[in-house]
């Protein structure tokens, strides 16, 4: 059997053929050297789902190093705005200042990060590097509540502090700049603290721009991940009860039973849905009949945004970011080659 360069093979106990052989000098007569034209012909994108929060798309025909670079950049390099400084005036609730501040920091802020610049420690505050929020919540008795009421939400007013309580305080020109999309938390129902009558939280919050490298709260994604496309190879026709059993080894929709020559025959219809549980490899009767593989250069990418920036935009930004990085290094390397020749 010729050596399979394009697939990773899943066996019952191990995963084999992991390392990429997509390089020159690996197999006689097979070049696979780098060529931009070859990449262009091979590379393809398919978008499966897009929404404001989530996106799933396929990147086909690229190396894992590139795919992983995008993932890393999405997690740690694409900047967003997040609460960085909390000026606590009153906090008489049970949630301590530092715990409350930590919770506030993690709130995703719906503001376009490209409209801001990041602020270093000694920079003065301007409308370009800071967003100001005010939080002022006091819990009181609800006089209209029924006498025998036990639900704190009805018994008291403001017994729960939510992200929706944050009030944006526009600075200088911010009100006009963001008139079409006022700055606010992405979600209004994130519970921050609970209060009881007489307790109060009053603070001023400053948001700054930074990236996930600094603190995870700046990461624009809840997660960004990829997996390789599953491939299920049925080597020999599987019919009758065996076919039904095979179908049960996979999640629904992966294997279908079709009528072929008057016999029930198993057919893989959507390997993409498979979770690669390897259940099929546990059954002796399928030994040698079914092979589980993953396609080495087919990445199923999933981006889950925190909601501040749409995922499609995030990916575009990550490619841009990568390009900027490369151009910076390319410039430095070009200067280097001039030096060495001189």
């Amino acid at each position: 059997m010729p050596y399979d360069r394009d697939h990773i093979v899943l066996e019952a106990e191990t995963v084999t053929n992991i390392s990429s052989h997509d390089y020159p000098h690996q197999f006689p007569g097979d070049d696979r050297g780098f060529g931009v034209e070859a990449f262009r012909n091979k590379f393809n994108v398919k978008v499966w789902r897009v929404s404001r929060e989530e996106m799933e798309f396929d990147l086909v025909g690229l190396d894992a190093s590139l795919s992983n670079a995008f993932r890393r950049i999405l997690l740690a390099d694409v900047p967003t705005m997040a609460i960085e400084k909390v000026f606590m005036h009153y906090n008489t609730g049970v949630v301590q200042d530092e715990v409350l501040s930590q919770r506030l920091g993690l709130i995703p802020i719906n503001a376009d990060p490209t409209k801001f610049v990041s602020k270093s420690a000694d920079d003065p505050l301007t409308e370009l590097n800071t967003i100001v929020f005010k939080l002022d919540v006091e819990c009181t008795h609800n006089k209209e509540a029924a006498k025998d009421e036990t639900d704190p939400n009805k018994l008291y007013k403001n017994s729960s502090v939510y992200s929706g309580h944050l009030k944006w305080v526009p600075q200088h020109g911010q009100a006009e700049t963001f008139a079409d999309r006022p700055i606010k938390p992405v979600l209004d129902d994130i519970l921050l603290a609970k209060l009881r009558p007489g307790q109060r939280i009053t603070c001023e919050l400053h948001c700054e721009k930074s990236s996930g490298r600094d603190h995870a709260k700046y990461s624009p994604v809840a997660t960004a991940s990829y997996r390789l496309l599953p491939v299920i190879d049925i080597k020999q026709e599987i019919t009758g009860d065996m076919a039904l059993k095979l179908q049960k080894c996979f999640p629904s929709g992966v294997v279908d039973i079709i009528e072929k020559n008057g016999q029930k025959t198993a057919k893989v219809v959507n390997a993409r849905k498979d979770t690669m549980s390897r259940e099929v490899l546990r059954h002796k009767e399928f030994q040698g009949l079914v092979e589980l593989k993953r396609k080495r250069d087919h990445f199923i990418f999933k981006i889950e945004s925190t909601g501040a920036v749409p995922p499609a935009v995030l990916f575009a930004q990550s490619v841009k970011h990568m390009m900027d990085k490369c151009e910076l290094v390319l410039k430095a390397v070009s200067e280097l080659s001039v030096d060495t020749t001189a």
Binding site: V36, R40, D112, T114, R181, V309, A316, M322, L328, T340
Partner: protein
Amino acid sequence: MNAPDFYEMFTLPEGVKKVAVHRDAKQLDTATIEIQKEDHTLGNLISKKLLKDNRVTFSGYKFPHPLEHKILIRVQTTEEITPVVAVHDAIGGLISELQDIAGKFKVRLISSPMSILETTTRTLPIMHGGVFLYKLVTGENQINIFCLLT
């Protein structure tokens, strides 16, 4: 308290060059390229790209210490080119790949039917992150989404 400043991760100190070359004293066809303020993201990428070059015989990288924000890429080449030229070509190739990826992503996003877009842009267009994102309504409720890199 004695934590290193966050900006040390990506700002180049004055007088320090982004890229430096250390030639191997014993092997003339080998050099170590030191790139400041970069990590696995670029290190792995460049070293893997170098391997695809027919004229490169060895390439590997290391990120020597988590608090030293630099990478070392070791490159050995055949007589045809020098390691510096190999790195130059690899990054040049990477940039054209990235342009292709950005281009194709944009095209596929435009052509993805609106039925798979659950809740998208409410106002049109939305300027977001240097990218215009807006939906376009054409005949028979065919709606497309546009994403333009600026």
